[in-house]
């Protein structure tokens, strides 16, 4: 909990600076845009917190978003004869199932195939994206569904982000699964000697992040009424990992702060927005983001030593 405090302080200071210096920033529409924009990869970052707490990593999330989006929109188009509401349900369910399946594949490769998480998810990172690109013929899949746009517009992604954050924070702190995830991340052998089913616990973390990729894909598809098989979800996994790091969750696992990750998500969102508003070249945004990540870790490291 202590390390996540740093993220909240940074978020507070950043917010203060932005609110004071930019009147455009203060605009409610802009605030909604920032938070909504941050939500899509933010939801994944929350799942990533669990994965990293359990001693793993998931590089395939961004590709899985494109995979879920592409195939759920295809499924929606297949049942174009049905009512718009039914189509929406079909799309949502397909997206969630695709995500769950993708996560399950990662989890199975890592826990039963005994492939290191970095390598397994690097493999599926390539596979999920490629399958999406193949299905959509490297293009965009577009749909026209009034319900979808209505449901996924406005503050919906932000609300989903907050609800998921609350649920996962509760999971980590108050449920046996949450305790076991941290125990596995803190020491796999100790956990197995404490009669914890290490594989099942770690599998659960990948299943959760996979499903959250499905949620993210659904929201993203609704916002744009389309999914780009090549572009959608690109770099989401890296943004997610960055938010987890900024939030103070150690990459070595064993500890997690979901709220810290949420702060990390907003920090990254605000930075790219304010750089736009200060008319700093979009091409430099990566540099600033990178500096923030490095500084976050440096700061946390100093704190631990001192």
């Amino acid at each position: 909990m202590k390390k996540s405090r740093a993220a909240f302080i940074v978020l507070g200071v950043l917010l203060l600076i932005c609110l004071v210096t930019s009147s455009t920033f203060r605009n409610p529409t802009n605030l909604m845009n920032i938070t909504r924009q941050a939500s899509y990869s933010g939801i994944i970052a929350l799942g990533m917190t669990l994965v990293i707490a359990g001693g793993g990593i998931d590089l395939s999330s961004g590709s899985l978003v494109a995979f879920c989006g592409t195939f759920s929109l295809e499924a929606m188009r297949l049942c174009s004869g049905l009512s718009e509401g039914t189509q929406l349900v079909v799309m949502l369910v397909t997206s969630l199932l695709c995500g769950l399946a993708g996560g399950a594949i990662n989890g199975a490769l890592i826990n039963w195939g005994r492939i290191p998480p970095f390598i397994a998810t690097l493999g599926t990172f390539s596979i999920f994206r490629s399958l999406a690109v193949y299905q959509a013929d490297a293009g965009l899949i577009m749909v026209d569904n009034m319900w979808l746009e209505k449901i996924c517009g406005g503050w919906t992604p932000v609300v989903v982000l907050l609800v998921v954050a609350g649920a996962l924070a509760h999971l980590l702190r108050n449920t046996p699964l949450g305790w076991r995830i941290c125990a596995v991340g803190a020491g796999e052998r100790t956990a197995s000697y404490a009669a914890i089913n290490v594989r099942l616990v770690r599998f659960a973390t990948y299943a959760i992040i996979g499903t959250l990729c499905g949620v993210s894909a659904f929201l993203l598809a609704g916002r744009l009424s389309s999914i780009s098989s090549t572009g959608s979800g690109t770099n989401y996994e890296l943004d997610a990992i960055a938010a987890v790091i900024i939030g103070g969750t150690p990459m070595t696992g064993g500890r997690a702060s979901v709220w810290g990750t949420l702060a990390g998500v907003f920090i990254l969102g605000i930075i790219s927005n304010i750089l736009d508003l200060w008319s700093i070249s979009a091409n430099l945004q990566g540099t600033v983001k990178g500096l923030v990540i490095i500084m976050a870790v440096l700061f946390q490291f100093q704190k631990r030593r001192g």
Binding site: T175, P176, G187, A195
Partner: protein
């Protein structure tokens, strides 16, 4: 400062005669407000083996680190007149490299062209091993060696670096009796050639047998030093600084009734009775750990049958064993027994989560009060339930590890080397705890390489050899001779 663990610290060159190789005067060292060494003075002369003993936390490791120059000291002087090499409990060798490469790491011999001179290095390595009288292939990968062989490599490395002062930190912790005996023969031979040694061990009988001088450290102060011959009991008293009650509690009396029966497995059969402490002995790596892990569900039972409380069982996972009432305490505490970054309360909670879960939710308050109870019963010295286990001393970590297992109230507890690396004070507490457990009717299987421990606690000891139960010693009292007899199988084969 370069990090060096098996490293060497270069002092001046060759010193002859009996002038000290190491002189320390008034050494002080504090970590924060915690004074770890408080005016330590000692002298090590060539051809002497100096024993250094003290409880965990007495300052032994810090003293060694200061001698090696790994940490700066705050006051006093350290005068090194020889190359010093330390051989640690956890040997820091480069596992993937060959034995030769490890011996010459950082001091590689080169040909005139500047390339590595493998032939010379291998020849020198073979010569050193011949001098030590051990057979190790210089080309073998270190990873493929046994722990004892790695120990030899570490010693050979020190010798090849021309170290005249060796610091041996718990060198026999992972060795069996034969290997220890051999090590001592070599150490005595080195002493004869003018090497000096600082020998650190919890095994006081070894210290008594080997050392010419003895330094007792307590709370960072040298409380006793000199050439006076001390009995192990007297050493222990000086280490602890108070009169130790008898190390072993009265031996547990088994009650009628069988808790567990293993039949036709590990080449034999045995029964474990209510309230019994059944020992498992043997030379290192003869399958004792396998037996314990099989009972606890970590390994499948290959043949035969296991009956717990009269019911035949077949464990496919540790969870099934746990559910059948079998708890397991792992040998390697740091790797398998605790989570360093977790609090005492989290250990207690994770020890038996289902007990502390109501309708899918972990009951924090219940865990906290259970933890307070455990801290009390186990006499865990810590700030409270929120203390991080990594900050506790070795003995207290072991008690947390035990609390974690015993929270589930098992009927049978398998202890695998419960006192490895634990000092004499905490050891006594652990023994009395095991005895109280047995008195409450819990059946204990005690796997240990410390024969004195088995003799002190058990009325029956199974002896294993080559993965099989070679026999069961039931005499009263049990003698070391009959255990060794069965363990080595001298008479039969």
């Amino acid at each position: 400062m370069k990090p060096r663990s098996t490293g060497t610290a270069n002092g001046c060159e060759w010193t002859s005669g009996t002038s000290p190789l190491l002189t320390i005067r008034g050494l002080c060292k504090s970590y924060g407000t915690n004074r770890v060494l408080d005016g330590v003075s000692l002298t090590v002369r060539p051809g002497r083996i100096v024993g250094l003993i003290g409880e965990n936390g007495a300052g032994k490791s810090t003293l060694v680190k200061c001698i090696l120059g790994l940490v700066p000291h705050d006051g006093g002087t350290i005068d090194r007149r020889a190359t010093v090499a330390a051989i640690h409990q956890e040997l820091s060798l480069a596992g993937g490299l060959s034995v030769t490469a490890n011996l010459f790491l950082g001091r590689e011999r080169r040909t005139r062209l500047g390339t590595l001179d493998h032939r010379t290095m291998q020849r020198e390595a073979a010569a050193i091993f011949a001098r030590l009288g051990v057979e190790i292939d210089p080309r073998a990968e270190v990873e493929s060696l046994s722990v004892a062989q790695m120990q030899w490599v570490a010693i050979a490395r020190a010798l090849s670096a021309e170290a005249r002062l060796l610091i041996l930190d718990e060198p026999t912790a992972l060795l069996n009796r034969d290997e220890s005996t051999k090590l001592f023969t070599v150490l005595r031979a080195l002493r004869g050639r003018g090497h000096a040694m600082l020998f650190i061990s919890h095994k006081l009988d070894e210290v008594a047998a080997l050392c010419d001088e003895l330094i007792v450290l307590r709370d960072g102060v040298v409380v006793s030093s000199g050439t006076e011959r001390l009995e192990p009991e007297e050493m222990a008293r000086r280490m602890v600084g108070r009169e130790l009650e008898a190390l072993y509690p009265p031996r547990a009396v088994p009650q009628a009734g069988t808790v567990l029966r293993l039949e036709g497995a590990f080449g034999g059969s045995f029964e474990l009775h209510v309230g019994e402490i059944l020992g498992v002995a043997g030379l290192a790596g003869q399958g004792q750990a396998d037996l314990g892990e099989t009972l606890a569900g970590f390994r499948p039972l290959r043949s035969g049958g296991l009956t717990v409380q009269g019911r035949p069982v077949r464990f496919r996972s540790p969870r099934m064993a746990r559910a059948a009432g079998i708890g397991y305490l792992a040998a390697d505490r740091l790797r398998d027994g605790i989570w360093r970054d977790f609090t005492v309360a989290e250990h207690v909670g994770l020890g038996d989560l289902p007990r502390y879960t109501r309708r899918g939710h972990v009951q924090h308050a219940a865990i906290r009060s259970a933890t307070e109870r455990f801290i009390d019963t186990f006499q865990i010295r810590c700030r409270g339930p929120a203390a991080l286990v990594g900050e506790l001393s070795g003995g207290n970590q072991q008690k947390v590890s035990m609390a974690k297992v015993l929270g589930a109230e098992p009927q049978v507890v398998v202890f695998n080397e419960p006192t490895q690396g634990v000092d004499v004070g905490a050891r006594q507490e652990i023994y009395s705890f095991i005895a109280r457990l047995a008195a409450r009717g819990v059946a204990v299987l005690l796997v240990s390489s410390d024969m004195q421990e088995l003799i002190g606690l058990c009325r029956r000891v199974l002896v294993m050899r080559a993965g099989r139960i070679a026999g069961c010693v039931e005499e009263d009292p049990i003698t070391e001779e009959s255990l060794i007899y069965l363990a080595t199988g001298v008479h039969g084969t």
